[in-house]
């Protein structure tokens, strides 16, 4: 499946992706209105700083065997058999935290206002409804550090040794 990958060598840690992510998941999709929304729109992609200094980009990997789905006691987590996308059904989610506990990457968080689990959904709503071609973070990245592609196509995107994670 296509996933979001990051070339950390060109990442400036500007956090434009985080902002774009929160905006894409806001009600209004408009920055000026979105910052006044309650509950606040929240990002599902996060920049982390590694122990050695460089940044590391973290979002859901849409694993082949997702631990979050097995741990989800409300059956809110599921993997789309066609696209491979791991999604959370916000109506079923009770915010119990089991998926957060299961994800070995720490890619999930609980929205402390809405009490539901938040995760990267590849902006599927945007893609389906507005007909965009890529997730908001990828589209917004000013240095083209983020790409949305198949794993096997990565070598066309970056030199392999520069690929330090995604």
């Amino acid at each position: 499946m296509k996933k979001i990958y990051c070339n950390l060598d060109t990442c400036l840690a500007c956090k434009t992706c985080e902002l774009a992510c929160a905006l894409a998941h806001s009600e209004s999709k408009d920055l000026e209105s979105a910052i006044k929304e309650s509950p606040k729109p929240k990002q599902r992609i996060r920049l982390q700083k590694t122990a050695k200094g460089p940044v590391y980009l973290l979002q859901c990997r849409h694993c082949e065997e997702p631990a979050c789905i097995l741990a989800c006691m409300s059956a809110a987590m599921s993997k789309d058999p066609k696209t491979g996308l791991v999604r959370v059904d916000e109506k079923k989610c009770v915010g119990c935290g089991m998926c957060v506990m299961a994800c070995p990457y720490g890619a999930l968080i609980i929205d402390d206002e809405k009490k539901i689990s938040l995760k990267c959904d590849h902006c599927i709503m945007l893609l389906e409804k507005i007909g965009k071609k890529e997730a908001a973070c990828v589209a917004a990245c000013p240095t083209k550090t983020l790409v949305f592609c198949e794993f096997d196509d990565l070598k066309n995107q970056f030199a392999p040794k520069k690929l330090t994670g995604y």
């Binding site: 982390q48 700083k49 590694t50 122990a51 940044v55 590391y56 973290l58 990997r61 694993c63 082949e64 065997e65 997702p66 631990a67 789905i69 097995l70 741990a71 006691m73 409300s74 059956a75 079923k92 009770v94 915010g95 119990c96 935290g97 089991m98 957060v100 506990m101 299961a102 994800c103 070995p104 990457y105 720490g106 890619a107 999930l108 968080i109 609980i110 009490k115 794993f151 690929l163 330090t164 994670g165």
Partner: protein, 430 residues
């Protein structure tokens, strides 16, 4: 191929889905003594609280069994295994043949073992039916008592309080959640309940339940009486072993399962709350009666039954729970006993925050965190993979700790292992 699954909860459903991923045509039959389609058992506290309806508890959409091409026999109990003829006999004398059998009979709530526990108004809290009956009773009730301060007891108390009842929790040990949280963390959880109007009495047990046909109250072992119309018994669970008792299937606390989730009898598998496996944190055989463990074991059993080899490395005590908005995480060994352990604690009771890490030599053995869910899975992955954390011990306690700080020390996933303990090379590279 004829597959038979006894049990229709986390392990059973995940097993049948795994079987169907591999084998689209084999005959699959699911038997359960509960008359409902599979439901999310852990959500009964939300049903009790009134924040979820019974319909919300359904684990799979309507028509799922049809889609999976599965034969269901619900509301019937499997009573005997005929090993010679490879059949399971149900309580209506029906005989079901199998090539591969999964025993996922789960567990049942333990009885109190005191006088009066059969009075009307005295409940266990395990099934939809229990919850229905409690909710019905709540309509004419003001005061409730919960016996037991473990997960079941606290979740029941939470649900009853949300329904507007006066709730008292009576706990035999000196603290809440003594099985999964240490004293420091428990103190904060207790205060959270008290802040939300639930009374907690520790160091006390119910000697008997009194009433006249109906519950009127409980008499405690210090002579004190508490009046109430509802009593919920939350004393833990026992594996449902009736089906295999006095048979050739080996049991201890539960059914002994190997790393394929197979029992000592070929082609007979066990998964979920009835299965005893190796604990990854302690190395000892145990039953971690958890939704996540049951689901993973069921899935692995399903794959192995269908001929796709998958290895189960073991279970781990792993709990995430939230009470009145307070997150609680408990992983692995929370109260170390024996030599070679080291504990690091950060306690901020005024902020309702507590964090304890337990190390055994150079690896992480246990975690208790109250007040925050963040990165719990990263800690769990460190425990399960037995990673050498000696280089990052200091930063593990910091709030800024996250996956990026430990990604290089997690061992790579081994061949055949399903998930969770280690990272898949394809998911992380570089």
């Amino acid at each position: 191929m004829k597959y038979l699954i006894i049990g229709n909860c986390a392990a059973g459903i995940h097993a049948l889905e795994a079987i169907r991923e591999v084998d689209k045509t084999g005959r699959v039959t699911v038997v359960s003594d509960e008359p409902f389609p599979a439901y999310c058992r852990c959500l009964i506290s939300y049903y009790l609280a009134g924040t979820r309806t019974e319909a919300d508890l359904e684990m799979r959409p309507k028509g799922h069994y049809n889609l999976m091409n599965v034969n269901t026999i619900l509301g019937k109990r499997a009573v005997k295994i005929d090993f010679k003829n490879r059949m399971v006999i149900l309580d209506d004398d029906r005989r079901l043949d199998f090539d591969k059998l999964l025993i996922a009979t789960g567990a049942s709530a333990k009885p109190l073992g005191a006088e009066g526990e059969n009075l009307k108004g005295c409940f266990k809290f395990r099934t939809i039916e229990d919850t229905r009956n409690i909710i019905e009773m709540c309509k004419e009730t003001k005061d409730a008592v919960v016996l037991g301060g473990g997960l079941i007891g606290l979740k029941a108390a939470y649900g009853l309080k949300k329904r507007g009842l006066n709730v008292k929790i009576i706990i035999k040990s000196g603290q809440v959640m003594s099985q999964i949280v240490d004293k420091g963390g428990a103190e904060i959880i207790k205060r959270q309940f008290e802040k939300n109007g639930v009374e907690i009495l520790t160091g006390l047990a119910a000697k008997k339940i009194f009433g006249n046909g109906k519950v009127h109250g409980a008499e405690l072992d210090n002579g004190q009486s508490v009046k109430c119309e509802i009593i919920i018994i939350g004393k833990g669970v026992d594996s449902n072993l009736d089906l295999v008792k006095n048979t050739e299937i080996k049991t201890h606390w539960g059914i002994l399962s190997n790393n394929k989730m197979e029992t000592n009898i070929k082609d007979i598998f066990a998964a979920g709350d009835v299965a005893e496996t190796i604990d990854l944190a302690t190395g000892e055989p145990t039953i971690n009666a958890l939704w996540s463990a049951a689901a993973e074991q069921g899935r692995i059993a399903g794959f192995n039954m269908a001929g796709k080899p998958r290895i189960y490395e073991g279970s781990c005590a792993e709990n995430a729970v939230e009470f009145f908005g307070l997150p609680v995480i408990s992983l692995g060994i929370h109260r170390p006993q024996g030599e070679g352990f080291q504990e690091v604690i950060s306690n901020q009771p005024e902020k309702f925050r507590y964090k304890k890490l337990v190390f055994k030599q150079n690896r992480l053995a246990g975690v208790v965190i109250v007040g925050d869910f963040k990165n719990a899975g990263v800690f769990l992955s460190l425990i399960k993979s037995k990673a050498d954390v000696s280089g990052i011990k200091d930063i593990l306690m910091e709030d800024s700790f996250d996956y990026s700080k430990m990604k290089d020390i997690i061992p790579k996933k081994k061949e055949g292992v399903l998930i969770t303990t280690t990272i898949d090379a394809k998911e992380i590279f570089g």
